[in-house]
């Protein structure tokens, strides 16, 4: 759910990075934070444990530029991927405008990907969303690892509705910005569509 302020001429949107634990969600945000110029980004907030596992969420505000005189701001959140933090994940999805799913390409993490994607669908539903209609981008992360599953197999299993998808290596920044741009575009297009229909 975006926030449009006609007085300060700002549009705020919320994007959530979802996916299994240790899949690279925080790494995506960290890379974006490292590469953006200081005037377009805010602080990267990370609520993590001592072992750098996300405890509640990471948060990074970005200003992308102007559309029709409106400052366009995106707020990026990650969820904690570990299964037992489900209550937190549900809370963070509240008011989301678009979701990026960061899948772990390692073949032994395929079950974790599937479980996390099912969990996403369930939590969206509990927040009043229909997964089929939420702007959604898939990132197959860790493509550089030798035990990465076949791309086609991942697509079939994780992305049957053929949402925009990318092969990423978040630690090296590969496809990180492509993913961000794709979801930002989908969110804006969805906003345009939803205002046109009404």
């Amino acid at each position: 759910m975006s926030f449009i302020n006609y007085s300060s001429r700002e549009i705020n949107c919320k994007i959530v990075y979802y996916g299994p634990g240790l899949g690279g969600k925080t790494t995506n945000l960290q890379y974006i934070y490292d590469k953006m110029s200081p005037d377009t980004k805010g602080k990267l907030i990370s609520l993590a444990t001592e072992t750098e596992r996300t405890l509640f969420f990471d948060f990074l505000p970005l200003a992308l530029g102007d559309i029709r005189g409106f400052k366009t701001r995106f707020q990026l959140y990650t969820v904690p991927g570990q299964v037992f933090y489900d209550a937190s994940r549900k809370l963070i999805l509240r008011g989301v405008d678009g979701v990026v799913f960061v899948a772990d390409s390692q073949i032994e993490r395929m079950d974790a990907n599937i479980e996390s994607l099912e969990n996403l669908k369930l939590n969206l539903k509990e927040n009043g969303y229909d997964f089929e209609r939420v702007p959604f981008v898939m990132q197959y992360n860790k493509r550089d690892l030798p035990n990465a599953a076949e791309l086609q197999e991942m697509r079939t299993i994780l992305n049957p509705k053929s949402s925009p998808d990318f092969e990423g290596v978040a630690t090296k920044g590969i496809a990180v910005f492509e993913t961000l741009k794709a979801i930002a575009k989908l969110v804006l297009v969805e906003m345009k569509r939803s205002t046109a229909v009404r």
């Binding site: 759910m1 975006s2 926030f3 449009i4 302020n5 006609y6 007085s7 300060s8 549009i11 705020n12 919320k14 805010g42 602080k43 907030i45 609520l47 509640f56 969420f57 948060f59 505000p61 992308l64 530029g65 559309i67 029709r68 005189g69 409106f70 366009t72 707020q75 959140y77 209550a87 937190s88 809370l91 963070i92 509240r94 008011g95 927040n127 009043g128 969303y129 209609r133 939420v134 741009k181 930002a184 575009k185 804006l188 297009v189 969805e190 906003m191 345009k192 939803s194 205002t195 046109a196 009404r198």
Partner: protein, 161 residues
């Protein structure tokens, strides 16, 4: 999509800012700000220069969301007031009209009692403004949205490096 966007117009925005300004003065507060439950900062007033209000907004909403989860676990609807006491500064957080969060940061120049008293009064004023705003958004033709005229080119332009 779940629910419409939160839309703010100039008239209500100015009214809200006036209310926040008044609260800051009457409660002897350092900073007063208003956040929507999804973490979007609506407005801030006071000594905000050296404070990262965007992060404050997001963490406040996270805080309210987490305490709301706690409340449900013990059979409460929500905890409408939270208070954090620090060595110098304190934070008073309250939910207004189940939709927005009012945050007051204050130090020794004020007191919890005073802040609570003033927040209660302010809460009613803000609730009234937001009720009016929601009605107005429902009435206003959607053509007023900046998105109705947006082109694919506008969107593309955002991403030109």
């Amino acid at each position: 999509m779940a629910g419409p966007s939160l839309i703010m117009y100039e008239e209500e925005f100015n009214q809200i800012n006036k209310v926040l300004e008044k609260l800051t003065k009457e409660a002897n507060a350092k900073i007063v700000f208003l956040v929507d439950k999804n973490g979007q900062l609506i407005s801030a007033y006071g000594e905000t220069k050296n404070i990262d209000t965007t992060s404050l907004a997001s963490l406040t909403a996270g805080n309210i969301a987490a305490t709301g989860g706690l409340a449900k676990l013990i059979g409460e609807k929500e905890f409408s007031i939270l208070f954090h006491e620090g060595e110098k500064d304190n934070i008073h957080i309250s939910i207004i009209g189940q939709r927005v969060i009012l945050v007051v940061i204050f130090d020794h120049r004020s007191s919890l009692g005073l802040v609570r008293l003033r927040v209660k009064k302010t809460g009613d004023e803000l609730s009234a403004i937001f009720s009016k705003l929601i009605k107005k958004v429902e009435k206003e033709p959607q053509a007023a949205s900046p998105f109705s005229e947006i082109t694919d080119e506008d969107i593309e332009n955002l991403f030109k490096d």
